[in-house]
């Protein structure tokens, strides 16, 4: 009988799940908007992922489940939980073992992670005291332009020049953007300015951790191509685009840990 392993990443904004089979291949994944109750988010995302997978019908049938993310302790079916920093490192290492630096831009925090040759965490730095530079910041900015995040990203790519955004705070940046729009500055240039202000913020944090090539970006914001270009300009490195959805890296890493933990468990038996 085939065994399945699950990684469940309960983030502050989105909850993600990845299922691996016994050949360590991804068979299913799911992403849902996080609910008020992390326990409920985990339950729903597991059901969603199971629905898309062949060979498993019930989340209780997983051989091993690892919970990660800020709500990791709330994953009721989890056999254990592992910090999201380790899981992101492992997820990225599984997809591309050459990556040495990860910039993880999550819903409500930003992390810089140095990864070793075996996928272990060498060092990390994080900003979790301020919303500026996080996924939430982009949501607020996109709402100023009455756009979706994808539309906002596309808009920034059309910029002819970059309007500097001086404010580092989400609330004041919003005020600044609104007044720039009122001054009839080109929307695309303002959008590019926003991307650059976040990139500069990441630059400072990543310099603290230490930049080592190759570099990639994970988290929901990795889909924001405008931000990736701004980061490339700031950091003066080529950002590696991953083959697997970068938002799933935490859940994927957790699933890989689940697979390995199960092997250890079986060998102990």
């Amino acid at each position: 009988m085939k065994k399945f392993f699950c990684g469940c990443d309960v983030g502050s904004t989105y909850t993600k799940c990845v299922i691996l089979d016994d050949e360590e291949k991804i068979v299913s994944n799911a992403t849902i908007r996080s609910k008020m109750d992390p326990c409920e988010s985990a339950r729903l995302v597991l059901l969603e992922a199971v629905k898309n997978a062949d060979g498993i019908d019930d989340p209780k049938d997983f051989a091993y489940i690892v919970g990660t993310g800020y709500g990791r302790t709330q994953v009721e079916l989890a056999n254990e939980n592992i910090s999201e920093i380790s899981c992101h490192a492992m997820g990225v290492h599984t997809v591309n073992p050459n990556i040495r630096t990860i910039i993880d831009i999550g819903g409500q925090d930003v992390k810089g992670i140095n990864v070793g040759e075996d996928g272990s965490v060498i060092d990390f730095g994080m900003n979790d005291k301020c919303a500026a530079g996080t996924g939430r910041f982009f949501e607020i900015m996109a709402s100023c332009f009455e756009m979706t995040l994808q539309e906002f990203s596309d808009l920034s790519l059309q910029a002819k020049k970059v309007v500097p955004i001086t404010s580092q705070c989400s609330v004041f940046a919003e005020t600044e953007v609104i007044s720039l729009l009122a001054q009839k500055k080109p929307a695309a240039d303002i959008a590019a300015g926003i991307q650059m202000s976040v990139a500069k913020r990441c630059f400072v944090m990543i310099k603290r951790v230490g930049l080592e090539e190759e570099v990639t970006v994970t988290g929901g914001c990795a889909r924001n191509e405008g931000l990736i270009l701004a980061l490339e300009k700031c950091l003066k490195v080529k950002i590696v685009r991953l083959d697997v959805d970068p938002q799933l890296m935490g859940a994927l890493g957790a699933a890989v840990f689940a697979y390995r933990k199960n092997l250890v468990k079986c060998s102990q038996k």
């Binding site: 910090s83 920093i85 380790s86 490192a89 272990s120 965490v121 060498i122 060092d123 990390f124 730095g125 994080m126 005291k129 310099k207 603290r208 951790v209 230490g210």
Partner: protein, 494 residues
Amino acid sequence: MEVSKELNINKKTSVFRIIRNNYVNYRYWRKNWFCMNMMALTAPKTIFKGMFKYTWLYDLLKSNIMVDLYTNKRSGPNYDKVHMHLSFTIKSFSDMYKNALKNPDKVVIIQNMVPPQILHAMGLTSVVPEVAAVVLPKIDQFAGVRYLDAAESKGLPGDTCGLPRLTAGIALKKEVPIGSCIISSNLPCDGGLASYEVIQESIGNIPIYRLNVPYDFRNDESIDTYVEDLKGMIEFLEKNTDGKMNWDKLREVCRNYNKMVEIELERWELAKAEVPPVSNDALWFPHYFAFNVAVANKRLVKHHSKLLKMDKKAYKKGKICFEGMRYRTVMWNPPPSVYGHIWNWLERCWGVGSVMDLETYGVMEYVDTSTPDTMLKGLGRAYMWATMSKHTRGPAENMIGDLLRAVEEYKPDFVIYPAHMGCKNSMSLEALMKEECKKRKVPFCVFRYDLVDSRVTTRQQMREQINKFMIDVMKAEPLDSSLLTIDDTGEGHW
């Protein structure tokens, strides 16, 4: 059979230890209350009135809660030493405030890092307002909030160092014992310098003398300039108080200071041992008190000699500073005042012992007592080169160079860097320090905090940052996983 025997012995040892520790706890608890009651009984009227005027005095009466937080469930030589030192500190503070309230005309308000030895030699009582600002959040994490709010409502910026802000807040609420004059200085940083403008104004424009320590303190000319400034301070004090300089008394203080230096250097050597008999607050707190707050008198020397004797005894027996120590660290910034007992958590949750820290690791030099000038020169050097004053000023090499020397000498498994969000000087050096440690393959743990305001970063948020580092970078398992998350938002819990 053998295993069960061993378990039995361990059980007996552990029961014995619990009984012994409870007895030690009770003994110091009683002693601390006795000191505080004696303070009240010596000048009951003044203290009673003072309780209404200086509301922080009421918080100081809760000192035994702080002792509990520091010592709760700890073990090994550190447990006894921390108990002993806290008790000594409570007694010293009680005496200082008792003297200040009883003889207000002898009181001179001095800023932290103004040499108190000189005032002592002049027969004056020095009150350091920063002491209350440091101690209050240690006793109750929210005790300083009312003062911080008072300072901010007067326009002191909220993102600067909370220590001078809290001190200014105490003065703005008119809760600093009024002295005959003020001595301030530009040490350790600009924040402190700025706060004394507010303090002077709120106290009622009493005369103030500002010591101006040269920015580049490494050359002989700077020391000569500072000595001249100290002489100016003595002249000012003789003019504005009834204190008179007694050089023989200063010589006695300096001799005691030299004994303290000798003891301190021996303690540093012992902390280098593979099995260190001393670490964490058993090392940090006595140093902080002796070299930043107190005047070296016979009582202080006796107390420190006793601490050293305990260190030596533990070292000879090969006894480690606390049970379950697994990691040596160097803590390279002040520990948070709002989480003064973080050492207890580090020991019990992760088995981490700090064998050296920024506030302890300074220049320890003997004072030449042959002439008044050499004494002033010696004291001047001690304060110009002291921890903080040299780290928060001058080139980056002051702070980074010392860290690298400490890493070389104390061989930590990792460096722990409490990043005080109000200290822009040290924050600007974080990346450089991390880079240098990385070159030496020494992991660098950063946790952000505000020195005196746990509304900015809660204690649990501080712990979370350290937990992440210990799990993800050090790949460590906690000694006690129930301590990973603690609800200590209310006082008295931890």
